[in-house]
Symmetry: C2
Subunit: 335 residues, 2 copies
């Protein structure tokens, strides 16, 4: 019997229809053609093919915008939003619009063209996580912005247009719906029970264990109770924290360990799938970054199928793999 499950935070329903497909090998992954380094704008030596760098971690004293970096952040050459200008909010009859003001940055995660995020050492991955943090701290100062979204498209099927490993950061003048829904749902839970729903989830998942993928002292990686997609994973800090960039230093090492283990388990179970990664942190630009009801978290979606009319029309998802069996497969894969 298929099962309907409700996301405890935003109330989104999913259909867990395990009759349709069951095992990782039922999801054959199409791999990208190996792209050459000759024309890659993210490789060392090609620094002049990107806009000037906003941040780079360099060993020794190599000059900016040249080789010698381990992580490098640059503005996106084809930004979805423009950094200069005023919002200029307007009504057009019924409709509302404003100028597309925002920042759109690219975090080049490694100088090596052929290494994926999952291939980095824990220390190298931690440097990427700290670069995200550093850019968020800087952009949060801009009073025009309300939200900073870090995300990553890995593999062409997941929307990556360049093969060289990178993530992106978009600063937005409004809080996006997906995050607003999470915060509103979490606030309702908090008002009703005086507890953070994410803290409750950490507790229930650790007690139950069936959906746990990996854990360390500070972080829990698990398949959510009502996942939209097969092998969808979520990483939550065990201790309450609403803003990613306000964590303690050892937290970044803990996250690097948990994220690395999860990515490597997905690679092992699903033969290096394309995926999307999204970081949800508290909105910026408000009085209070320290929300008692919201946890920052990382969402990971392996790209194994396509979204079609039913999902677009309903916001409901049909998932052929239960999170319990996905987590069981992932637990068995050595990172």
């Amino acid at each position: 019997m298929p099962e309907l499950r409700k996301d405890p935070i935003i109330g989104r329903w999913v259909i867990i229809a395990t009759e349709r497909a069951r095992r990782p090998q039922d999801f054959p992954v199409q791999h990208d053609d190996a792209a050459g380094t000759a024309t890659c704008p993210f490789c060392p030596g090609a620094e002049d093919k990107t806009p000037r760098e906003l941040l780079a971690y360099r060993a020794g004293h190599t000059p900016a915008n040249g080789p010698g970096w381990s992580v490098r952040v640059v503005p996106n050459r084809y930004p979805a939003l423009m950094i200069e200008g005023a919002l200029d909010k307007k009504g057009v009859g019924l409709y509302d619009k404003m100028n597309g003001i925002g920042a759109h940055e690219v975090i080049i995660e490694t100088p090596e063209h052929d290494r994926a995020l999952a291939d980095l050492s824990a220390a190298e991955l931690e440097a990427v996580l700290r670069a995200w943090r550093e850019r968020m701290v800087d952009l949060a100062r801009d009073q025009r912005f309300r939200y900073l979204l870090v995300f990553k498209n890995h593999g062409r099927a997941a929307g990556a247009t360049l093969a060289h490993s990178h993530s992106q950061l978009i600063a937005l003048p409004v809080v996006p719906r997906t995050v607003k829904n999470e915060i509103d749902g979490a606030r309702a839970h908090y008002e009703h029970r005086d507890r953070c729903v994410f803290c409750d989830i950490v507790g229930q998942e650790l007690d139950d264990g069936a959906r746990v993928v990996y854990e360390n002292d500070r972080f829990l990686s698990f398949c959510p109770f009502a996942p939209r997609f097969p092998f969808e994973c979520c990483i939550l800090p065990k201790r309450h924290a609403s803003a990613y960039e306000l964590m303690d230093r050892p937290d970044y090492a803990g996250l690097a360990d948990a994220l690395r283990a999860t990515l490597r388990k997905l690679d092992g179970a699903l033969d290096h799938p394309p995926y999307n990664l999204m970081l949800h942190s508290a909105p910026v630009g408000g009085a209070d970054r320290d929300l008692p009801h919201f946890h920052w978290h990382v969402e990971l979606i392996p790209k194994l199928g396509s979204v079609a009319g039913f999902e677009w029309g309903s916001g409901f998802y049909i998932n052929p793999v239960s999170p319990e069996s996905a987590a069981e497969f992932l637990r068995k894969v050595s990172p």
Copy 2:
């Protein structure tokens, strides 16, 4: 300058970033391999390859579950939901679930394997629209259901697994989020202004004209002000009506004309793109089907790109084609 636009019904923001791509020919369409009729379970003569028919339009007195039909409705052989059983709602700690009870039907739109929905005559298309209606009227009687979603995936890239033209109907025991958001947004507008937001949109779009794709006496086809995707279209009845299946008979002819014109314009502008179609009508199973604040409508999304981390993480969409230029292209294509 890119523009941020807000959907007037649900408040979803989109980025209209026209710097990135502009013309229909910037969206090359990958066509499916022609699939043979030999193994097609939807072709006449193969009626025994589907579950027994729920409805068929037949000229003359051909027997059920054999050839002679023009439109045929059957249960999905691989249903996402099961028709038999009780909902059996349960809590699991924090979480809610219920049995996956529902109906999942397939509407085979034509006996001819190689004709697409857009290739049907207006009368043939009207018969499909009436088959949707007839199945909705029947399923609305089942007290377990709260929502009936008709949708169509055309082309493999849009999620179709069989080439023979068909649409689907899923009956759900809960109102899906996407529809709930629309109804809640429309209710807020109604409470504030005592007018239906969809009626307001019809008025503003007809006055403005820039986003109109096609119109006839009863229907308006247009590109919405804040579309998620390039060449996204919406078809609205000009006169207020909340439930699709409660329309007057001539309305189905009017919708057939407007839908056919829109599909043929998309075919002409975008070289027969894959697409998703979704019908949003008022929920069933409540006291009142006649909502003063909600219009039923058809959404059409040509499948031209893929959704990636930014969209998944934000619910925000980056659209490289403004609805004004999409509508201008579509108006010029003869249906």
